[in-house]
Amino acid sequence: MSEAGGRVVIIDDEQAIRRFLRTVLEAHGYEVFEAADGEAGLAAVAQQHPDVVILDLGLPTIDGVEVIGRLREWSEVPIVVLSVRERETDKIAALDAGADDYLTKPFGAGELLARLRAARRRASGPATEATFTLKDLKVDMMRRLVTVKGEEVQLTPTEYDLLRALINHAGRVITHRQLLRQVWGSAYETHFHLLRVNISNLRHKIEPEPARPKYIVTEPGVGYRFRDEG
């Protein structure tokens, strides 16, 4: 997948993190712009027209979630937020406010680059290919046919819709609410048990080891992620 030539704005008050991100991103062909707080970050996005924004949630003056809200008033630029383990509710608030994904500190460079690629893919529109293939899993969208190691897997219509919603988000986190809205409709937004049971059933059908999922990974307290690489 091509990743060269992208422009990225980093909004983080920690200079050491900005330095680390710049080094990694420049090595991968990104053009990097830095901002140390929310106001400067908003200005940088307005001026530089980046392809993606990396935003720390724990900013000093205006809070990261507020920066997302203000950005979303006029920009559809993909946003990946940085947060810490203990702040699940902050992550959900950021995703609800319009962030595309998050990274839990500390994170590795590989993880960071994968998140940026996935977020930018969202911006370039949904995948239009008729078949999705990952490792032993193959999904034929046209025929609604799912195979694992070449063997057909019988999914219920709900399980199939769930799988397709996850694949459409491949590589990116999708919250419980987003999944419920997309698969069951907004009236079912808080029917978490439906999601839980269907995810479990789906895993038992497509995962070789349901307790060590290769495809549908749980993001504790937030939602799920369909792992699309590695």
Partner: protein, 402 residues
């Protein structure tokens, strides 16, 4: 004068004097007790006076015995003898005709006087002796009590001193342990990075890779350690918020395995979670932390290449998850101690870790109303069992996490 009357009244009623003086002090105030004796006799005389016309004087003499008994009990031997004499005089003057003189019409009354005096003196002596014995017993009791109290104080002081010392030792061990455990991974990371920076050209590709992997793994360990320290702090401060939501235990275990994937490497895992297990009400992120700690621990002690087994069983009111390894096991006397803070098995100091993981895990499981315990396995190795209630104490589940 009123005070004196109060005093007499309280003496007659058997109450303690209002002044609150201790009995022992009265003896030094002999004059005062003679005065009280006089009042006592006067008081009785006035009390009985209305009966003079209706009752035989001989019978009235009995009332004076009461005054003598009270004087003997309350005021001491001297005052009682004084009361005896005074009673005879008062009886003669007030109740024996002719009234208000020392003279006696009927010589029979001389016998009454003698009888009254004799009985009074005997009562004085007996009662006073009983009183002195009681006093002595009281004194002995007070001494014993004082001695006992002093002993108790000394014991308490010793206990406090020991507790203080133990607390200090624990704090010292805690600081030692934390600084050791924070510095160990930092030392590896710093060492690896400085070597890469300074000797880059001297190192071959394999050595560079080795240093980088080493530094990365230690950084992950440092992160787990910080996470545990934070959880422990919250747990101890009572600030750990449990937000329960129904979750498949399989999902919790999976998330823990993802977090530990680098550390576990190619360690064989045997996972037995039957399909259709009931979901458990848990705080997902915290329960993941529990299994990260249990698996980390099993991995630490089990020899390379041996499998770690995870087995879940559910049904009825609870769900059980066992994490079993083929390590050296836990000496039976340590089975409970391993859940204490900063306790590591002595023979495996090299295994690293803070000794916080199991303690925190038990704290989290108990905050869920569950239990966590250790036992040894047939054929060698340890089994850590998590038991979680499937009932939710009838409190509504926080289905809505957002």
């Amino acid at each position: 004068m009123n005070a004196a009357l109060d005093r007499i009244q309280s003496l007659v009623m058997g109450n303690r004097p209002m002044s609150g003086r201790q009995p022992g002090h009265n003896e030094s105030k002999a004059g005062l007790s003679f005065l009280y004796s006089s009042f006592l006799v006067l008081f009785l005389t006035l009390l009985v006076l209305p009966l003079r016309a209706r009752i035989e004087p001989t019978n009235l003499a009995m009332f004076y015995l009461l005054a003598v008994v009270v004087a003997a009990m309350r005021l001491g031997r001297g005052a009682a003898i004084f009361a005896s004499l005074l009673s005879v005089v008062a009886f003669d003057v007030v109740f024996v005709p002719p009234y208000y003189t020392l003279g006696v019409d009927d010589a029979q009354y001389l016998l009454t006087f003698a009888g009254l005096l004799g009985v009074s003196l005997v009562i004085s002596a007996l009662t006073a002796r009983a009183r002195e014995q009681a006093r002595a017993a009281q004194r002995r009791e007070a001494q014993t009590a004082a001695l006992y109290e002093r002993n108790r104080e000394l014991a308490e002081e010793a206990r406090q001193a020991q507790l203080h010392q133990e607390t200090e030792e624990l704090q010292a061990a805690l600081l030692n342990s934390i600084s050791h455990d924070l510095r160990t991974p930092l030392a590896t990371i710093t060492g690896a990075l400085s070597s890469l920076r300074d000797d880059y050209a001297l190192l071959d590709e394999g050595a560079r890779r080795e240093l980088l992997d080493n530094a990365y793994e230690e950084a992950e360990r440092l992160n787990r350690l910080v996470g545990n320290l934070l959880d422990m702090t919250r747990l101890e401060a009572g600030a750990l918020r449990i937000s329960k939501q129904l979750a498949e235990i399989e999902d919790v275990i999976g998330a823990a395995l993802v977090q530990l994937s680098t550390r576990l490497g190619d360690r064989p895992m045997v996972i037995d979670t039957p399909k259709g297990m009931p979901p458990a009400p848990v705080d997902f992120a915290l329960m993941v932390q529990v299994f990260v700690n249990l698996l980390d621990n099993a991995h630490k002690y089990a020899p390379a290449g041996t499998a770690i087994e995870i087995c879940a069983r559910g049904g009825g009111d609870e769900l059980l998850v066992e994490v079993a390894d083929r390590g050296p096991g836990i000496p039976s006397e340590q089975l409970e101690r391993v859940f204490d803070k900063f306790v590591r098995l002595q023979e495996r100091e090299d295994a690293g870790g803070t000794g916080l993981g199991l303690s925190i895990s038990r704290g989290i499981v108990e905050a869920h109303g569950g239990r966590l315990w250790a036992r040894n396995r047939e054929g060698g190795g340890a089994v850590l069992t998590v038991e979680l209630p499937l009932e939710t104490d009838h409190e509504p589940l926080t289905e809505d996490l957002a």
